[in-house]
Symmetry: C3
Subunit: 206 residues, 3 copies
Amino acid sequence: MINFLDLAGTFVFAVSGTHTAMQKRFDLFGALFIGFVTAVGGGTLRDILIGSTPVSWMKDIHYFYIIVAAVIFTIVFRKFVQKLRTTLFLFDTIGIGVFTVIGLEKALQIGIPIPMAIMMGVASAVAGGILRDVFSNEIPLIFHKEIYATACFAGGVLFVILYKFTPLSESFNVLSTIVVIITIRLLSVRLNWSLPRLSKYENHGD
Amino acid sequence: MINFLDLAGTFVFAVSGTHTAMQKRFDLFGALFIGFVTAVGGGTLRDILIGSTPVSWMKDIHYFYIIVAAVIFTIVFRKFVQKLRTTLFLFDTIGIGVFTVIGLEKALQIGIPIPMAIMMGVASAVAGGILRDVFSNEIPLIFHKEIYATACFAGGVLFVILYKFTPLSESFNVLSTIVVIITIRLLSVRLNWSLPRLSKYENHGD
Amino acid sequence: MINFLDLAGTFVFAVSGTHTAMQKRFDLFGALFIGFVTAVGGGTLRDILIGSTPVSWMKDIHYFYIIVAAVIFTIVFRKFVQKLRTTLFLFDTIGIGVFTVIGLEKALQIGIPIPMAIMMGVASAVAGGILRDVFSNEIPLIFHKEIYATACFAGGVLFVILYKFTPLSESFNVLSTIVVIITIRLLSVRLNWSLPRLSKYENHGD
């Protein structure tokens, strides 16, 4: 189940990367590169930082096919993909939920202190999107828009609390965490929440 | 032989990085940094992803001297280097051929699935140039120009076919792969090939 | 003592990252991300390249609290932080001194050749600031301004000389290295030293 959601999330992240590549008018190689970076960037960062190498997506060929399929699908069916926006948004949100939990669990397993482990979960979820923007020469979107990392963070805190202080099963914990992340993000988009942007040091008129 | 070509490729990649640093008017430190990143970026990514650390260039002092020499050479003899464009282009092309093969072989040796291993070969060859552009705050050139990664990819596929399905010697396989990569790239430049740029989602007039 | 300076340097680096995030008008998440990257980027690069994982800051919870505190402190007391510029500059300079020595020692311990080890020391000190600028979509400041890496390099060379050719104690070596780095940087700012910027290949009027 986690595995299915992981692959679904990977697919959607690769679609999002390809979308960016198309807006930048990259060629097929550029789209594949950005698609890969977006889809596996978070997991790669996580695995490299905790020293779990070769990184996970290199050992499992499914990721490769899923990402290549996502890139080609997005390019070929661009108009159709446009119409799927809501569905994609939903899967993207499921994706960050799943990636947060996977990253968090991996970090806890090797004994990383809890606050760091939560951070590792958030990083697993958001680093792909950050790298997508850096490689496309853009300021990362999530540095100034949307409750995204915040939803992952809240989910991560919940997961740790459930995991440490309740006798509930892992499946239940995973599921509630993902549901909470999805709920926060959906609410934030619906109600137009965002973190306040920081003002500059100097305050003349902006 | 591979070793000589590896060092020659490293030299040329460092020259290319220094060239970019000079166009951006960085100082000597900037040129050294960009020179290093361009020259060892691909191999570093490869080694980190597959978990072969300390990364290879840190264990072999030759790379260090080659790169420092390349940076200084490019700065001091800038007019001369300008005239060497064709020679440098040739060595750069040899470089990506050699780096593709080295990356591919390393990945196959540790049991990475074949499609991933080819990708690792391509990444070894092109990541240096991508990082050069990211650190210089430019959109990576190879996302929208030239058959570059594609040549590496074709070479990688050929190498795997020769390696798996023929009794030919490794030297022969390596050499043919490099020759094919060089041929594709030279042809692509000569005949002005490139991958089509992707259009945006919205199609009004561009 | 080293440990205290390490944490002080981490704090100041996180302040510097938050400062950049505020100027870019990122939100709280953006500030935390850039704060972290600036503070632990150098050490992370060092640990990943030499294969010392999980990276050091993930095993020691102090870094986490120090960085979060620095980010919040900078945002809440922005006017006060403005006035602390000189103090912060001093700690930043101490920070690069300490980070250079730590990186250098770690590299020497695992048998990295000396020139590489010095480079590793410099990279530990400056990579955080470079990544801060890359993630903020800016050309890294130190590629074209100030004697910064150069001071670290000079300190690194001195440290190796003391370490290899004198019977002096480690504490003495560390301290002299840090003092030299600080002196060079203070002098360079005071006397307005900088490395000459490289000219472009073409020379018409700039």
